[in-house]
Symmetry: C2
């Protein structure tokens, strides 16, 4: 068996948009608006979770959605189709959302009429977690087919999250996803962070997500987690 040789490459400078993000967060708080930043790999179910969240909360809260993609309006169109205002950020080559992009996205929104803005970040398990968007809450989604080892390989994301959702539980044993192993790995990185297994396809577990989320709406206080270097 060969030994693994390790080359460490010094971390690059991270975005210095923190002051701007702080301003945006305070501005939103002053209007009683909570900004939720949803992050995951491509295809983990961000849009599906937003649709489930809208379905559960739209009778009680006024919701808007900001969709970030490097290209296309596929997701924003899915949101707009259910009658919720959707703003599309086309990030061009950018792999993440920064505070300045969110400032642009909320321009023109009637903040006093809103309770919750959900940002669907770019599908990316790395860079998105490194940039403060001005959100009050950061939630990471992992899904059964991606594998339970992802917290080991993408620790930045799992440290940055206020809660971790494990989606696509309906894949069941076929996915060979060990929920307890994932839970232990996330607990090491982010002690006490709730892990919420659910299936956007079947709806199972969505209630627990809503029960976790709802107290944050209009609470005007940010979650405990911070963007990670």
């Amino acid at each position: 068996m060969n030994e693994t040789r390790v080359i460490r490459i010094r971390e690059s400078i991270l975005a210095e948009n923190s002051a701007r993000a702080l301003d945006l967060r305070e501005r939103l708080s002053s209007h009683g608006v909570t900004l939720l930043n949803l992050m995951s790999s491509p295809g983990s179910g961000k849009t599906s979770l937003i649709l489930r969240t809208i379905e559960a909360l739209r009778d009680r809260y006024s919701i808007a959605v900001v969709e970030a993609d490097i290209d296309s309006t596929v997701d924003a169109d899915r949101i707009a189709a259910v009658g919720i205002p959707a703003v599309q950020i086309e990030t061009g080559g950018f792999c993440h959302v920064e505070a300045a992009m969110m400032e642009a996205a909320v321009t023109g929104m009637d903040l006093d009429a809103l309770d919750l803005i959900i940002l669907e970040n770019v599908g990316n398990l790395i860079c998105t977690a490194q940039h403060d968007t001005g959100a009050h809450l950061c939630v990471a989604i992992l899904s059964f087919p991606e594998g339970d080892d992802k917290p080991l390989k993408y620790p930045i994301m799992f440290r940055a999250a206020d809660a971790v959702i494990v989606n696509k539980t309906d894949y069941g044993e076929l996915a060979e996803f060990d929920l307890e192993a994932a839970r232990r790995r996330i607990e090491v990185l982010n002690p006490g962070a709730p892990l919420i297994p659910l299936s956007c396809r079947t709806g199972a577990g969505v209630d627990a997500w809503i029960a976790w989320l709802e107290p944050w709406i209009r609470s005007s206080s940010p979650g405990a987690c911070e963007p990670q270097a």
Copy 2:
């Protein structure tokens, strides 16, 4: 139905490591070494495909693997466990591999004794495709559970690939992945790029991948595709 408002954010400057990548590519070619850059989202099956590729080709070619992760040696350890030399690049906060990292990774390798180096890039469907690593070939992996709409949302990757692998076909109908829709979407972005469906779990389709890859080994000529802006 609400209309989707679109905000376009100008693309940032991309890495200027092209000259360095060109040098590395020429150097590898002069030693008869082909560098394959494997890219995908987290959990699409890069490591599993590398293990299948080693299994199929190790009797005929001398192979080394470079594993890039922001943290951990989980994947490199899986490769080393089957007796193939593995170099781990820890990118720190970097979400992609650049040519300078590959230069460091090949330092100390006996290039004259090697035929194929496989780079498992960081799990990221965006930034990885924007940076020339010095590879001769760029291959993208998409998997059934990620969904057939991903070429629409991550066009940069699918334009940059010499071939696209669709992994996890063993999930079958449960994944609701429309292979023909994916094929049409990729064809628009990257006319003529081969699409190779397979399952690393069952081994089905791996032969077609090997049949595509093998002529490139020792061919010393790069693939047609280029990193995309």
